[in-house]
């Protein structure tokens, strides 16, 4: 990163503004200017804009380190995590910020991904269904194949940021579509040898147009996933599994 080259550059932010709770308010784009500092991220920029220029600006950050998934938004047309997006990435110094589509808008750049994810978890039962509930925590744990554990961890790195849903054409057309996030999680439990569910149980929730058969394979989920999760591979895997259950 060339610090000298970026120092002092004037950035232009075009930010979506709308407060759905304010009677009469209408969605609009508002322009802000800010001097760039070395290592500036969209997180730093938005906080400075709020502190120095407009204290009503709404956006969400929690970890500011790319770990928690709170700050997904659409930056210059692409959904991504704002906390780890360096402003130096944009040579023209023009940055357009929009809220993630496909989620309830709280205000400005803040959307309710939490509500979406909780409802999805309840609908698809996205938790481990242990084969036996009768496990003694005082005794030695049941062994697990080390390769299986590593594979499960790989699939579990989803941070529920919502990028895959907002980048998915099917999800934009049909609210009931579970999106890559739902399928990734189900695939993770399907693989887990500790989970007692059968293929039929999974078929029951995603063996339809709202699940694996609704995906149009446009790859928006995989192309934009900030955690580089293998969404298409998992969707294809589930599809094959679901097709088997039809036979």
């Amino acid at each position: 990163m060339s610090q000298e080259a970026t120092k002092g550059r004037m950035l232009t932010f075009n930010i979506f503004r709308y407060d759905p709770q304010e009677p009469g308010d209408k969605p609009k784009m508002v322009k802000y200017q800010l001097e760039e500092t070395p290592g500036m991220t969209v997180f730093i920029a938005l906080n400075r804009l709020r502190e120095e220029q407009d204290t009503s600006l709404q956006f969400d950050f929690v970890c500011r380190a790319g770990i928690c998934g709170s700050c997904a938004m659409v930056i210059n047309g692409f959904p991504t995590l704002a906390c780890r997006t360096l402003t130096s990435k944009y040579p023209k110094g023009e940055i357009m910020l929009m809220p993630l589509p496909g989620f309830e808008l709280i205000g400005d750049l803040s959307v309710n991904t939490g509500k979406f994810m909780r409802e999805l978890a309840e609908r698809l039962k996205l938790w481990l269904h242990p084969i036996s509930d009768d496990i003694d925590v005082h005794r030695l744990e049941a062994p697990m194949d080390p390769a299986e554990a590593a594979k499960l961890y790989e699939l579990e790195r989803c941070v529920e940021c919502g990028v895959c849903v907002s980048a998915c054409a099917t999800a934009q057309m049909r609210d009931t579509f579970v999106g890559a996030v739902g399928m990734m999680k189900l695939a993770r439990f399907e693989l887990d040898s500790r989970d007692g569910r059968e293929l039929e149980d999974f078929y029951h929730v995603i063996g339809n147009q709202d699940g694996v058969f609704g995906c149009m394979t446009l790859l928006g989920c995989q192309d934009n996933c900030p955690k580089d999760l293998p969404h298409m591979q998992q969707i294809a895997y589930l599809r094959r599994k679901m097709a088997v259950t039809l036979v």
């Binding site: 709770q21 070395p38 928690c68 939490g114 062994p143």
Partner: protein, 665 residues
Amino acid sequence: MKLIYTDSLVIGAGLAGLRVAIASKERGLDTVVLSLIPAKRSHSAAAQGGMQASLGNTVKGMGDDEDVHFQDTVKGSDWGCDQDVARMFAHCAPKAVRELANWGVPWTRVTKGPRQVVVNAEKVTIEEAEAAHGLINARDFGGTKKWRTCYTADGTGHSLLYAVDNKAISMDIPVHERMEALSLIHDGKRCHGVVARCLVTGELRAYVAKSTTIATGGYGRLYEVSTNAIICEGIGQALALETGVAKLGNMEAVQFHPTAIVPVGILTTEGCRGDGGLLRDKDGHRFMPDYEPEKKELASRDVVSRRMTEHMRKGKGVDSPYGPHLWLDITLLGRKHVEANLREVKEICENFLGIDPAKDWIPVRPTQHYSMGGIRTDATGQNPQLKGLFSVGEAACWDMHGFNRLGGNSLAETVVGGMIIGKYVADFCQQNTLEIDTGLAESFVAKVQTEIDTLVDGDGSENPFELKQQMQRIMMDYVGIFRNGPELDKAVSELQALLKRANALGLKCKKRHANPELVEALRVKRMLKVALTVAAGAAARTESRGAHAREDFPQRNDKDWLSRTLASWPDAEALSPQLDYEQLDVMKMELPPGYRGYGIDNAIAHPDTEKREQQITDILDDLGEGADRHERQSALMPFEVPESLTPKNERLSEMLEQQVAGEAQ
């Protein structure tokens, strides 16, 4: 006024809070969790390295047990911890790890046979036992005698939080998201719930409950640069403090983590050094062996942070526009290891520094990281001053960390503390009735409403963002890694000036619903009071213990300071907390104060230490050689945990020994 009733109310949806909620719900209690954010975004997710539990499955963990874990924890705390609590914790940690496996955590597992690891900058081959294959693995962490830190790559907090939240969802536990607790409802003796504000609609609600558990995490964001999520602002501690009755413990005990990246302060896990990473100075020299020849990079965090600062003060830091830093070198671990086991670290380096840590060194420096202090509780997690108020996790001073926490013991505390305290919370709810005094609830709601009205409609002109920044700078400059009397006094007086100014806060944005400026204004005054408990406690403690290092009082002074600082704020208009002290009883300690193993032994002994050591020798002599380690422990310092957690922990080594003994007969 909207009034919501429940049995068990939990503030905070991180690991500790969710674990308590699960324990309540398991007993059939009505349970509600309040959270600023969706549960899975809690700061627990950021824990990378792992959680300590003495499973002893790996060859480098053989011989580990609760006794060793207990001793490491007490020494790590610089004898500032509650030894009863450290025992309860060490005993239950293996149970919590195994429970989490049953809830879906894909713990990294042991692979039998030889594997190459890096120990002290050298590649060595260790051989894992056939019988350990598939059991839960552990890595090395600072300040521990054995490899004890269980992990899932370097995303342990993420895996745990997801598993525990999924469990909570499966039990249908409601989490009221984007709700901020702003005041406890209490009558001076008993806590009855909280007043909370919805961050979306601005609505104020009273939550009335049998038990209220504060699990809001630490207060790292009192500091300008911190590894903490931006929501770790100490509001949970402020809730207790503002009752005027409840006390906070050891607030001056603030840990700095050695390796946060420069300048933004994002953490790179201690697992980097645990797995064999090294610290280097501007000349590329590995300097830690010069200071700590025995433990080197894996000395306790407070020690490594101070040694790094000392070394930079000698001019050995690397110059940068953000001041000096040092290097963390994990290149010697190899790309394969970095990409598999330190993947979050790799992503952080790529995204925030534009470097590849498999071939480039990482710029690091010590950064505020952990709050050992918090809401004072007894061993059951209950606040001694307000009945029905519980606290757990980093929010609490339960107090298993004393003045320095060992890496891997915080993630462990969240789930182990939650497991133990959750049962006591449930007991409390079953033994007590719900006392609903709507007049009392209304009076607390009215108070918060008045505060909001004054902020929105008043004629104040102070800017909440500016006050917060000034507070954060004061804490960074004067209440940091090395402390001294004049600077701490300066911190106290400057914070007091800010607190006065906070009476005249004024807002530009006048909305009463979602309004980030209003949120900031409501927090900053509360944060200033919490900051004052840290600064005033540090100014008063004229000794050095764990992370509290006084340049003007370099000795650990057990004679005068083997005590826990208690801070309260009885007069709401006062500019200072009231400080009291709670003595630690050496005669009840299983491990009396001794040499911690770093640098010169300069402690001033407590008069009871020798007496207690003699007593311990006598007790053990009386027991004779036939007694096993459990009997010896119990004779020295009996402790209690809830009945369902009392059974002993089974271990692979003990099973193998029994097998061998069986075959010999």
